[in-house]
Point group: C2
Chain length 378, copies 2
């Protein structure tokens, strides 16, 4: 059953059938979850496609897009080649069909998981077994159960499939690749400290006592900085997941349970439904105002800081940071990651910048796709 729907996605460029030059590398791409990040990625891929053929001899062929209900396959649009924008043919989503379909082309296949879904993660093992590369900003597998993580690594390594997830921490900022290079070249981590949540960075940068903390949270939701249920950010679990990802990258086999997490959500609001939570949001104000007063009394600022030691102690918590400290200088939704190592001991290596947003996240995913392309043979 093929359905033709007027598409809300960015228009997809049909794959060309023209023969590519002998030295052209081809990747067959499937994109799962064409939401804000996936949509931005589709735009970036389309805008860059001809340039990459010319300058990188690389042909990124978009062959499938799948969301939770629909699936677009380029074969369905054969009759429409040459069309710009407009309607596309969609069929019901079948995640299990995606890998085999991409592999029909005999090019290296890359699945870009832009979902935040456990259901998609459950397919990784099959994809890796088939040698399909996975690029993703989805944190669930990288920070999930240690046993599954080990098994997925092993499967990918065995089949030669790449698994790249730079954008799970700091979006487009060079965080994970920087850490990996330090480790790969034999450096030894002393500590990582950082601000890993754009949402919390923005809230704490804005929170100066003039306005209630709960009002700023509402502003953040409206501005798209925070999730509609802001507990995902305020509870610290998102930051804890990122710290687990960094820890594992550094060779420490940590799990989410090992991270000491200070939640900004009062215990009695942790399990209520979202509507009730938003209704009682003002309960955050008194404790946050008290914390701000403590920070001011010490001439510091409040920051939500993630810390990892070489011994594997991991903690995410609200801290008072001196005004002269680099973490106090982060502005707006800036993320900041401070690597101290045996080689970077006098001064740390610091990466700073916007660590969230569809465009920069999509660009980081795109860069991972390009890295897959560099690492597979022509």
């Amino acid at each position: 059953m093929n359905v033709r729907v007027s598409q809300a996605l960015p228009a997809l460029e049909p794959s060309p059938r023209a023969a590519t030059s002998a030295r052209m590398r081809t990747l067959a791409l499937g994109i799962v979850g064409p939401g804000r990040v996936g949509g931005a990625l589709l735009e970036q891929l389309r805008a860059s496609r001809e340039r990459l053929k010319r300058t990188h001899r690389l042909d990124l062929q978009l062959r499938a897009v799948i969301d939770s209900r629909h699936m677009w396959l380029d074969c369905d649009d054969d009759a429409l080649n040459g069309r710009h924008g407009g309607a596309q043919i969609w069929r019901p989503a079948t995640l299990a069909d995606l890998g085999p379909y991409l592999q029909q082309s005999h090019a290296h296949a890359v699945i870009v998981d832009c979902s935040a879904s456990e259901e998609v993660v459950r397919h990784y093992a099959d994809w890796f077994t088939a040698g399909i590369h996975v690029v993703t900003p989805n944190k669930l597998a990288e920070s999930g159960p240690l046993e599954r993580w080990h098994a997925l690594r092993e499967t990918a390594s065995h089949s030669g499939a790449q698994w790249l997830y730079e954008t799970t921490v700091g979006a487009g900022l060079p965080v994970i690749k920087t850490l990996r290079e330090l480790i790969d070249t034999g450096d030894h981590l002393t500590s990582i400290e950082g601000m890993l949540s754009g949402t919390l960075a923005w809230l704490l940068d804005q929170f100066d006592g003039q306005r209630a903390f709960s009002d700023l949270v509402r502003d953040a939701i409206v501005a798209g900085y925070a999730e509609p249920d802001p507990r995902l950010d305020l509870g610290g679990m998102d930051v804890a997941r990122k710290l687990v990802i960094l820890a594992r990258e550094a060779g420490l086999t940590l799990s989410l349970d090992d991270v000491e997490v200070e939640s900004l959500v009062p215990a009695e609001l942790a399990d209520v439904d979202a509507e009730t939570f938003m209704h009682k949001l003002a309960q955050l104000d008194a404790p946050m105002t008290r914390r701000l007063a403590q920070a001011s009394a010490r001439n510091g600022v409040l920051r939500y800081v993630a810390r990892l030691s070489a011994e594997g102690h991991a903690r995410v918590a609200l801290e008072v940071v001196p005004r002269s400290h680099p973490l106090a200088n982060a502005r707006l939704t800036d993320n900041m990651v401070v690597f101290s190592t045996r080689r970077y001991c006098d001064n740390p290596l610091v990466v700073q910048g916007p660590g969230a947003g569809p465009e920069v996240t999509a660009a980081g995913v795109f860069a991972d796709v390009l890295r897959v392309a560099q690492q597979v043979a022509a």
Copy 2:
């Protein structure tokens, strides 16, 4: 004529003759210029070799080391296999023999140019033509004559040879690869501003009027932060070269002549011999003290700043920077590079950290070697 010399280099690990597993990748390495950076690299390679075989299935075989007078080839040490440290057999240096020797092993060959020599650069074309990869912190080719640079790029691209030079700017900091990913994924540069000289960063961070600028320069030489003839740093040409490299990476075909350079060396001292210069170093003090007073009057600090605009305007100069500006926060020998782009527009992407020193530079070179390994077939 073989000579046996007691070696001042770190002891070189002999290449194993044992068969490697089927899936092991091998790179044959030749290192040119085993000075401070080259020496640190040899240490790092040796310390990482067994680990990389195990974790990366990568065998980095050191096959040759060459300085301006001597050359060590692993074949000469055949009889010495199993020896640890101690004497090694050296023969007179013949740079032209290096490429053919490395290629005898039928592995991918990588020449690491840790020299600062034009003579070595003159061999790049032959190496690229032969498909030999070059990894280097040597700025002379990347910032040299535009025509030669174009020709070398073309030759390398044609033969599939990699040419990696991350450490020419910011040593081990992820600067060039970050810029390249921004461009490759279709972002557009608005500006780059940065502090690209660890020497000048240190001098200007220390210079608070308590001690004469010339005294600090002498300290910097003793500490190894500045060259014995500090005009290489103070004249700004080293920073200008780095800015040319960044500009070319961003697609702007700039040459050194196109960079507006403010030298901190008085014109009458620009061409005297090094001894005379050091004798008259105090002539720097009056103008620098005047500049410091101007900065203080404006409640700012002095920084030597490199700036590049999207239109290709390039300038390196002493500037007064407000104390609240990120560039004012750099400490010790910190480099800092601030990328503003179409996507990183509200807040820039910032990389900061020590941008000089043998260990971090060697680690950056090492990371480039690992990138070559990832990008060549098994």
